[in-house]
C-alpha cells in the first residue's frame, strides 16, 4: 500500500465512529453557557468579553438589516477558529481541511446573501455588477467579468480556507519529517530545520486565526453589499 503525506487528511474511523464527528462536536463543549449569576467564573467572563468585542467589531460596517446575521457570523467565527486551533494539537484531525465542509459553509451563506439582495433591492444588487466611472466601451465586458467574479465567490471562500489549512499542515509534516531524518546524520542542519519548524508552527497558529476571520469578514462584506 503506497502511503503519502496526504494520508493525514483522510478521515480516520475507529469502532465505526469517525473522528471528524468528534472533532466537529468538540467546539460546542469548549464554550460553556454563562449561568444566570451576576459574576461568572473567570473563563466564562473572558469568553463573554471576547465574543462581545468581536461581534461589535464585525457588525460596525453593517446597517440594521445586517444585524440579523450577528448570531450566525459570530458563532461561525468561533467555530472556525476553534477547529483550526485544535487542529494544531498533535494527532488531532482538522475538519476544515476537507473541502466538502468548507463548501458546505460557503455556498449556502453566499447564496443567502445574493438571494436577499436580489429579493429586497434588485436594482441595487444588479447595480453592483458595474463599478462607477467605467468608460462606456468597456461596459459589456465588465458586466461579464463582474458576474463571473460574483459566481466564483463561494468557490473562493471554500477553497481559500481548505488550501491554507491543508498547505500549513502539509508543510509542518514535511519539515518535521526532515528534522527527524536529519537528526542522526547532521545535527546542526537538524537544529536549523527545527528552528524553521518552530517559526512555521507560530505562523500556523496565526493562519488558523486569520483564515477563520477572513472567511467571516468576507461573508459580512457580501452581506453589506446586499442588505
Amino acid at each position: 500500500m503506497m502511503t503519502s503525506f496526504f494520508d493525514q487528511f483522510a478521515s480516520p474511523s475507529y469502532l465505526g465512529i469517525p473522528l471528524i464527528a468528534i472533532a466537529i462536536a468538540l467546539p460546542w463543549v469548549l464554550y460553556p453557557t454563562p449561568s444566570s449569576r451576576w459574576i461568572n467564573n473567570r473563563l466564562i467572563t473572558i469568553q463573554g468579553w471576547f465574543i462581545n468585542r468581536f461581534t461589535n467589531q464585525l457588525l460596525l460596517p453593517l446597517n440594521v438589516g445586517g444585524h440579523k446575521w450577528a448570531l450566525l457570523l459570530a458563532s461561525l467565527m468561533i467555530f472556525l477558529i476553534t477547529i483550526n486551533m485544535l487542529g494544531l494539537l498533535p494527532y488531532t484531525f482538522t475538519p476544515t481541511t476537507q473541502l466538502s465542509l468548507n463548501m458546505g459553509f460557503a455556498v449556502p451563506l453566499w447564496l443567502a446573501t445574493v438571494i436577499i439582495g436580489m429579493r429586497n433591492q434588485p436594482t441595487v444588487a444588479l447595480g453592483h455588477l458595474l463599478p462607477e466611472g467605467t468608460p462606456i466601451p468597456l461596459i459589456p465586458v465588465l458586466i461579464i467579468i463582474e458576474t463571473i467574479s460574483l459566481l466564483i465567490r463561494p468557490l473562493a471562500l471554500g477553497v481559500r480556507l481548505t488550501a491554507n489549512l491543508t498547505a500549513g499542515h502539509l508543510l509542518i509534516q514535511l519539515i518535521a519529517t526532515a528534522v527527524f531524518v536529519l537528526l542522526p546524520m547532521m545535527p546542526t542542519v537538524a537544529i536549523l530545520t527545527a528552528t524553521v519548524l518552530f517559526l512555521l508552527t507560530l505562523l500556523e497558529v496565526a493562519v488558523a486565526m486569520i483564515q477563520a476571520y477572513v472567511f467571516v469578514l468576507l461573508l459580512s462584506l457580501y452581506l453589506q453589499e446586499n442588505v
Binding site: 502511503t3 483522510a10 480516520p12 475507529y14 473522528l19 460553556p32 467564573n41 466564562i44 494527532y91 484531525f93
Partner: protein, 89 residues
C-alpha cells in the same frame, strides 16, 4: 466501624467491590436517555470541579485538551503504526 449498608444500585463506581461489578453494571441505565444523562452528569461534575471555580486557570481546559489528544491518538493508531514500521518516509 462497619459502613451503613447502601443498596447496590445507589452506589458510585468507586464504592463497588470487584466481585459485585457485574451486578452493579446490571443496575445501570443503558437506554439512550440514560446514556445522555450520564454524559451530562459527567460534564457537570468536570465543569463544576475545574472550570466553574473562582480562580480557574488554564488547568481545567488543558486537561480536557490533553484528553482530546489522547483520544485522537487512539483513533489514528491504525494509521500511525504504519509510520513506525515504514523504512523510508
Amino acid at each position: 466501624m462497619a459502613d451503613k449498608p447502601v443498596a447496590l444500585a445507589q452506589r458510585k463506581l468507586m464504592d463497588v467491590k470487584l466481585g459485585e461489578l457485574p451486578s452493579w453494571l446490571g443496575t445501570r441505565d443503558f437506554t439512550p436517555n440514560g446514556l445522555l444523562g450520564s454524559v451530562r452528569g459527567g460534564y457537570e461534575r468536570y465543569y463544576n470541579k475545574y472550570i466553574n471555580v473562582r480562580k480557574g486557570g488554564i488547568g481545567g481546559v488543558a486537561m480536557f485538551l490533553a484528553g482530546y489528544v489522547a483520544l485522537s491518538y487512539l483513533w489514528e493508531y491504525d494509521h500511525i503504526k504504519h509510520d513506525r514500521w515504514r523504512k523510508y518516509h
